[in-house]
């Protein structure tokens, strides 16, 4: 287990930023912590990297206690947050300076920096002052900086915040490549659903410091929606076949040539399709209506509700 928290809480003078969170992140997993602004995501990153002390509860990251062994955790973690880079230094210098903070020196450091510069397509501008870079390019350098010591665990706090769609797609592609190639554990905080859906195998939803749900998208979906909804598209009008299914006690709604029906289990659909085919229906497609992260998120945080939360 890379991250394991037990009822961890953080009380700021006026706000309870994290409220008794329990979560586990396994090695090699990309975990996404989703929540609106001010939900407690950044505080979680700060707690897990040992730069804030928990007010209650505890956590172990990479096997170390966050309260007592923060510097050992930080040695093996890379963190990308909305903190600024050194604008007066070049992209290369930013990476070199950072590498030294993780005890990298000489040729291994230079080689690693060259490698990152190439991976992130920064070669042409590597020696330009960072202050002259676009926001998207700066974010790439920030990500490269977090990776300079090839960390076992990577924390990303809103990696695409403030980026235009092009740069953010670009950055996500780099991230996806990194995750696939390196088999690294990633803890991603975001309020961008598509980002989390694309990268993460496991998701936590946090609101007002409380972890509302945690698990894979399939698990979360199964917890909320116990039934499975299928849409079957036929070659012919669907209404007669709705009537036919009713004889078997199966309720289906017909709309033009589409049949919409609810089953208890995914496997049940095979029998229904067989019945329809036997009665002469020509089936074009049968699609299970999957609940995406979008549906799950808004199930837990109804629209309009969480926006009122002020931190």
């Amino acid at each position: 287990m890379m991250i394991e928290t037990t009822n961890i809480s953080k009380q700021y003078p006026r706000v309870l930023a994290v409220d008794g969170v329990n979560l586990q992140v396994e090695k090699g997993m990309v975990f996404g912590l989703l929540g609106p602004n001010g939900a407690g995501k950044t505080t979680m990153v700060r707690l897990l990297t040992g730069i804030l002390r928990p007010s209650a509860g505890s956590a172990r990251v990479l096997g170390f206690d966050v309260g007592r062994e923060g510097d050992r955790i930080r040695r093996q973690c890379g963190v990308q947050t909305d903190t600024n880079l050194y604008e007066r230094l070049s992209a290369r210098d930013n990476l070199l300076v950072w590498g030294r903070l993780y005890d990298l020196r000489g040729a291994p450091l230079r080689n690693r920096v060259d490698e990152l510069i190439e991976q992130f397509d920064l070669t042409e501008r590597a020696d330009d002052m960072l202050g002259t870079f676009s926001k998207g390019m700066k974010q790439k350098v920030a990500l490269a900086r977090a990776l300079v010591h090839d960390p076992a665990l990577l924390f990303l706090d809103e990696p695409t915040a403030g980026l235009d769609p092009e740069s953010s797609t670009d950055l996500l592609e780099y991230l996806q490549k990194y995750v696939e190639r390196a088999d690294r554990t990633v803890f991603l905080c975001s309020h961008r659903l598509e980002e989390v859906e694309r990268l993460c195998q496991s998701v936590g939803i946090i609101h007002q410091g409380r972890l509302l749900a945690c698990g894979s998208i399939a698990q979360l979906s199964a917890q909320i929606w116990r039934e499975v909804v299928f849409t079957i598209t036929l070659q012919q009008p669907a209404l007669p076949y709705a009537g036919l299914l009713l004889q078997y006690g199966i309720k289906a709604e017909a709309h033009n040539s589409a049949l919409s029906l609810v089953v208890q289990k995914q496997e049940d659909i095979a029998g229904i399709i067989r019945k329809l085919v036997h009665s002469g229906a020509e089936i074009l497609e049968a699609v299970e209506q999957k609940h995406g992260l979008h549906d799950i998120y808004f199930h837990y945080l109804p629209r309009g509700n969480h926006e009122l939360a002020k931190y």
Partner: protein
């Protein structure tokens, strides 16, 4: 405490300082003006025989406490000695104060202002290493710049006045105490004020301005030196130097003891 980490922080701040044009211009220009242009002007104007200048100089010497001057000097030698050895000593002290406060403001308050500090807090560098690296990056250049100034000043002053003194009259014992005790002592005092102010100041500019208050006692020293109201003897100077170093040591332990990553971070937001 890991020296590699301290060196890494030092290296980072040093690279950044070299790229800060504003800081570099001040760090070079102020010593050049105070320790080269100004004394060269004094020497040239004193040695040129002009009625206006000699009148002014006579006025200056009339009020100057004669007991501060070594015996056996002629009028021109007295004037040069008074200006170059006594009057310029407090001016010289402004250099370490200025250099240390500019660099420290850049590295402490500046890092907060530019929102780069949080990133550093996520690295394995401990609070102590972070602050030590930053103290060194302000202290080492401030002392080295001052010593370099002292060297250049010494050579220049002796060379330009050799035909008047016919010997090397600089540095005096007082200057050696200045260089060895007061330069490091005042550099550290100056940077520690910046560190304290940086906890509250919102930016480099503010931190630097408040720490400039340290210049006031030095200016008082300058006035008292030149008018003879209050003259610090050699022994007095050594005592002041040692007291400042003691205060420095106390401040240093207080800074290291009061460090807190959590507070550094929450002060940012």
């Amino acid at each position: 405490m890991n020296w590699q980490n301290i060196k890494a922080v030092f290296y980072k701040d040093w690279r950044e300082l070299l790229k800060s044009r504003q800081a570099m211009v001040t760090l070079i220009m102020v010593p050049v003006i105070l320790m080269i242009i100004l004394p060269a002007g004094i020497i040239i104007s004193t040695m040129v025989k002009s009625d206006y200048l000699t009148d002014k100089n006579a006025q200056f010497m009339q009020y100057f406490p004669q007991n501060l001057l070594p015996p056996g000097l002629d009028e021109l030698q007295k004037l040069l000695y008074a200006m170059l050895v006594i009057f310029n000593a407090p001016l010289f002290l402004l250099i370490p104060i200025m250099a240390a406060s500019i660099i420290a403001a850049n590295s402490f308050a500046g890092e907060k202002e530019r929102k780069t500090l949080e990133g550093l807090l996520y690295t394995p560098v401990t609070d102590k290493e972070l602050v030590l690296g930053k103290i060194l990056v302000a202290l080492a250049p401030a002392i080295l710049i001052s010593w370099l100034c002292f060297l250049v000043y010494g050579i220049m002053v002796n060379a330009m006045t050799y035909e008047v003194f016919h010997r090397l009259f600089f540095p005096t014992d007082m200057w050696i105490v200045l260089v060895l005790l007061l330069v490091p002592g005042m550099s550290f005092l100056s940077l520690s004020i910046v560190v304290a102010v940086s906890q509250r100041a919102s930016g480099t500019w503010e931190a630097q301005q408040i720490s400039a208050l340290l210049v006031l006692p030095v200016i008082a020293f300058l006035i008292s030196q030149s008018t003879g109201i209050f003259y610090v003897s050699l022994l007095g100077m050594i005592i002041i130097g040692l007291v400042i170093l003691l205060i420095d040591a106390a401040i240093f332990f207080w800074i290291v003891k009061s460090l807190d990553r959590e507070r550094m971070l929450t002060k940012l937001v």
